[in-house]
Symmetry: C2
Amino acid sequence: MAKSKKNTSTLNEKKGVLQPKSLNEVVAERHKNFKKKPSTTELVSEILNQNQTALSQAITIIESTAQKHQQQAREIIEKCLPHANKSIRLGITGVPGVGKSTFIESFGKFLVSEGKKVAVLTVDPSSSISRGSILGDKTRMEELVKEENAFIRPSASGDTLGGVARKTRESIILCEATGFDVILIETVGVGQSETAVHSMTDFFLLLKLAGAGDELQGIKRGIMEMADSIIINKADGENLKAAKLAKNEFNRALHLYPAKESEWAPKTLLCSALKNEGISEIWEVVSNYFETVKTNGYFQHKRKEQNKFWLLQTIESRLKSEFYANASIKIELEKQLKAIDENRTTPFEAAEKLLTLQK
Amino acid sequence: MAKSKKNTSTLNEKKGVLQPKSLNEVVAERHKNFKKKPSTTELVSEILNQNQTALSQAITIIESTAQKHQQQAREIIEKCLPHANKSIRLGITGVPGVGKSTFIESFGKFLVSEGKKVAVLTVDPSSSISRGSILGDKTRMEELVKEENAFIRPSASGDTLGGVARKTRESIILCEATGFDVILIETVGVGQSETAVHSMTDFFLLLKLAGAGDELQGIKRGIMEMADSIIINKADGENLKAAKLAKNEFNRALHLYPAKESEWAPKTLLCSALKNEGISEIWEVVSNYFETVKTNGYFQHKRKEQNKFWLLQTIESRLKSEFYANASIKIELEKQLKAIDENRTTPFEAAEKLLTLQK
């Protein structure tokens, strides 16, 4: 929107300010010269070439519930796995209104300026009902989305938290294979999704606001305990004093918790995402954390534990999807649901009938 | 502890007051004359004879993780099912300290005095970690437990909420077959367990306290929406005024929610469980509810929906338990977990190997 520098003559000023394009050219450029329906091999090879359009398409395949896509998704992941696991994974949570998007925009831009490639994913099981309650569209991070080295993907949808979590875990693999070295995983600050995000990240960052008068009360104990760092956002202007008080209060509270297995002492920090203040300090803390846990072996240990958990989750989701995909079971399930509706059977009897068909 | 009425002579007074027995005779009596390891047929026949010891034993079998018990559990449930479904099922929730145990003691005794047979079950997934955080032992309802027509069973334990919920659902069937006509299902007022309890009860009762200054803030929206009645407990003495104010506030809040599918307008009531005040009014509201929903068909509709949900839950838990019970899978699982530990495989590869063994 700035005036063109060359036009300093008064005559040329009449041209007026430049109008913004209706198309985001940076994003559009990435989509050029790429097939609409590439094969698995093409897709993987483009992912390894750091092609974000291929990454997007692959994530869409992972998120699909169609049987043929599920098979393709498994192949893609298998081929990407040897190239994954090289990033650091940060979980970010906080109640609605705390400024998660603004924080991610500001933090993400800082990371890009430091030469990092940043991917943003979201775990929001509620969006399957309310459709896009957070991060519904990319425009919420309109500056970050323009960065060539940033990738933002709105929430995976799904019926269950387990399903959403699985898709996000698999998307992490693909982002890593595409060469992203910091993965930010955002979640809403309510419900069980924090536990899911905790199970797939290395570092957990809790965003808070000061001055609501319930500095400690409002936080679920479990979420406080998970945090590796508490960031008090909107610490600017008239808010600054309250934010400093809150920082002390959180620090006192954090000291009451037993020491973490990671041997890391969680830090409380102030920031103003809107004014880009306090961002580099947060990155410093995150970097210190990774230095600590990579030295003492906790990083490697935690990833292994997460992999074991993931193994069991993968098995259980496959058992279910294979069972319900069986054609004769599909037909019988409809019959049994109808029988329940007409009080002709019980859930146990119906389950027994369906389970027999499997063999 | 009262003096024996017959001993009115001063000479006899020297005998002193009667000492309490170390054994609760009422409870002990029920356990007499019953085998320690009855067969499935004996167990079911005793359950139908309203034998509470048999009921206890059957619930223990349901809660067992041993493979042979799981088979026996299914047989017991199958045989009890034709005699079940005749009770009303009430879910009761509220944060720790709200007085759930005292309320259930008071409400339960009232129901017994009205000629009802009352069973109390608990859903508390946290107890599998903290062991008995609520209703850890029966002594918390020491009067109700002495009633011949009351049965109190502490929390089922389990690794997952799903597992705990399944056991509770099955225990409901057994309680109904034993002739209990009101089933109270208690849950802690935090986390996801309310949803589980809601999926197995007809009426949902939320206990609250007045005067904490956070009448509305402290309540998760989802739980408020589930409530068919809000009971403000400890509405006595100096608390009474605040309780009345809270009642108005809750009533206003309840009116803001959309109408329920049940066509029932949730009621807010005051009570003092400790002083047995307001208890019969609560029962009146509960009775009105059942009159409403049995007339408009919602009662039958909701039970059917719950049965469909239960069908899917039963299938999924069986798929898992059968998979992990397979001997060759057990051995391979150990190997694959070790391989993950030694970075020799990925969760996906490992899952694939295990899933192949199943076929």
